[in-house]
Amino acid sequence: MKTGAYYKTKKASINLLIHLFLLSVATTCLFPLIWMVSSSLKSQDVIFKDTSLLPKAFHFENYYRAWMEGGFGRYFLNSIFYTVAVVIGIIIISSMAAYAFSRFRFPGRNIMFFMFMAAMMIPIPGSFVALYVLLNKLHLRNTSFGYILCMINVGLSTSIFLLKTFFDKMPKELEDAARIDGCSKIGLWWHVALPLSKPVLAVVVVFNALNVWNEYILALIIFDSRPLMPLQVALTTFQGEFVTNYPLLMAGLTITAIPIIIVYLLMQKYIVKGVTQGAVVG
């Protein structure tokens, strides 16, 4: 007969195994970040000889040099502006579109929805030349507005998909009650649908913020003026054709990672909620 001690030991062993597995996953995820920070504090000649995670001498000046030589100040502001503008644009348009796809019946609804979904399948680099020519014809090339429009377009499909999935599952009784209270269609979206979809919106915000923050190829193609470029372009300053200044590059990467880590930490509880509520179905 199996005793209580047996079950206790079994439970403890399973827990240990689970924790060991989670610990190994966490280490795998964290190691590149730790290596990045560690390398950012080494010098160029040491980085190839000393592979330990704790540098023998700490070169904190790398951060100052990366900031100054990369011209991070202006690019930082640009990136914040693009990220905020694009994310707000995506939230407004995708939530309105997703709500309409979920709740309204209109001709061509399914075709339009599938067209948005089909857009998810097109890799962004495949549309670069077309976007360039289009923006050029609209005289929006080399303008922040043109770039923001492109990036909103890039993020719409996935966001609409996520939000529509959520709205489809949302009980209609809440909207019925609001309608009885005299709420208009746009009022339903603003007062009922949006507040309830906070967890999914958190996922949409983090997903798109990360996407815009890390984007640089489209920016490089659309912008001719360096003052309009986002932060990621500054990182290329340290990456030559054959020679890369790794300590400054790693310092720059650490600087650029901080804001997005902060956004993630702020939104963490909503993201977990969003995921557990089935926001990221499929």
């Binding site: 670069f128 303008t143 490089l220 290329t236």
Partner: protein, 447 residues
């Protein structure tokens, strides 16, 4: 609802204020815009732009778009939208270059090159200019002429570590000149690793030749050097044409060299799976006696180990019948936009930029080889060693014909198999020849 309207209005006003305006262009002064991808040369370019503005009163905007693949996309997109700058560079193969010329994006520089008894043209290394030239009857259908100005050159050759030479009891001023001498050094390296007299009884952990041979084009380059040395250019080209089989004794000889090098111990362990960054790291950290690398390595090694004591050498010759050939030619080139309003000014600037003084400045500050042959007396010694071998340089881009890519792949992978002892040189030669014949048959069928 009121809050919503306020929020949306604020957003729209915000967009209009911040996003809608493109930056103002500077007016008054003549401005030349240059797009490039060379991050490491950006500070030197900016300095030269200042000097030119002070000298000629023309403002030059060097605009950096890196990395190179993103730059290429930008240039292609700008060509579609006819928004190319006054001067730009094209990355890619010669057929890409030709397609830009045929689309009317590139200005023919021939009259400027030929002016004043070809003064401009003759200032360059002949082989540096070849990449930018299209000859009579070229297969691309481009009007013969010179369409670009090289700003630097590169060669791919061997490097040797002088400290490790001393440790092996070799004269650091006398690198091996024959293939037999190279194999002898291989034996010394093996002995040192076994704890022989060269290392004072201790196991040295010294590596032989390191190179990025996981990237097969570098193996191809090394093998081609020896093919040119043993059978000469004509026979190599005849092989590409299909007139000489890969089973010819000379080709088997080339393949056998890799077997001999492996057996002598001159090749580093795991060289067939080595990426060039690892090879550079090993050589820079005094762990490998030889490296096979491009002239760009001067900059790389300087960053990794400024105290590294090394020299450049041609791959040791296996035959006296033909000269040893190395791959080399133009590194980076600039082209003038055919549709630019500032064509004349752009050409003048390129002439100035490729002048001896400016080229020497570029070489000194960026450690790249100058394209102007008159600038080599003013450059660091190690760069001059690379430049000295320019006469031995050749490149598939200037041969006028190219081998089937599947044949090249089979040849290079075959060499990897020889090095790891999986196949014999004869087996590889036979396999490559079979693929060659299959491709030739396919080509005949298409015709």
């Amino acid at each position: 609802m009121f809050k919503l309207r306020i929020a949306i209005s604020t957003l729209l006003i915000g967009f209009a204020l911040f996003a809608g305006c493109a930056p103002k262009q500077e007016t008054g002064k003549q401005v030349i815009t240059i797009w490039h991808w060379m991050t490491d040369r950006e500070p030197a370019f900016q300095e030269l732009a200042k000097r030119y503005e002070a000298k000629a009163g023309v403002k030059v905007n060097f605009e950096l778009y890196a990395p190179s693949d993103a730059y290429s996309q930008k240039v292609r997109a700008a060509a579609q939208g006819e928004n190319l700058p006054d001067i730009f560079g094209i990355l890619g193969e010669k057929r890409d270059f030709a397609s830009f010329i045929k689309a009317g994006h590139i200005f023919n520089l021939t009259p400027y090159m030929e002016a004043n008894n070809a003064e401009w043209k003759s200032s360059f290394f002949g082989k540096a200019l070849a990449v930018n030239e299209f000859n009579e009857g070229n297969s691309y259908g481009v009007k013969p002429g010179t369409y670009g100005a090289p700003i630097d050159i590169m060669t791919i050759q061997m490097l040797y570590n002088k400290n490790l030479f001393r440790q092996l009891g070799l004269n650091p001023r006398k690198p091996p000149v024959t293939f037999e001498e190279l194999l002898d050094i291989g034996k010394k390296i093996s002995a040192a690793n076994r704890g022989g007299s060269a290392s004072g009884g201790k196991q040295s952990g010294m590596q032989g030749l390191v190179s990025g041979w996981a990237e097969v084009w570098m193996i191809d380059c090394f093998a081609n050097n020896y093919a040119f040395n043993i059978m000469g250019k004509d026979k190599v080209l005849a092989t590409i044409k299909g007139e000489v089989p890969y089973t010819d004794t000379d080709w088997i000889k080339v393949l056998t060299f890799f077997k001999q090098m492996q057996e002598s111990g001159v090749l580093a362990n795991g060289v067939v799976t080595m990426i060039n960054k690892t090879a550079e790291q090993l050589f820079a950290n005094d762990k490998a006696v030889f490296a096979f690398n491009g002239s760009w390595c001067v900059n790389v090694y300087k960053g990794m180990n400024p105290k590294l004591d090394y020299g450049a050498m041609l791959p040791p010759a296996a035959s006296e019948k033909f000269p040893m050939a190395i791959w080399g030619g133009a590194g980076s080139s600039f082209m003038v936009n055919e549709r630019s309003k500032n064509k004349e000014e752009a050409v003048k600037f390129l002439q100035w930029l490729t002048g001896a003084d400016q080229q020497a400045y570029l070489a000194q500050s960026t450690n790249n080889l100058p394209a102007n042959k008159n600038a080599t007396s003013k450059i660091p010694d190690i760069l001059a060693q690379f430049a000295d071998s320019m006469e031995n340089a050749t490149h598939p881009n200037v041969w006028g014909l190219s081998e089937f890519s599947v044949v090249i792949e089979a040849f290079d992978k075959g060499i990897q198999s020889i090095i790891i002892g999986e196949k014999t040189p004869e087996q590889v030669a036979l396999e490559v020849q079979r693929i060659k014949e299959r491709e030739l048959a396919k080509k005949r069928l298409v015709r």
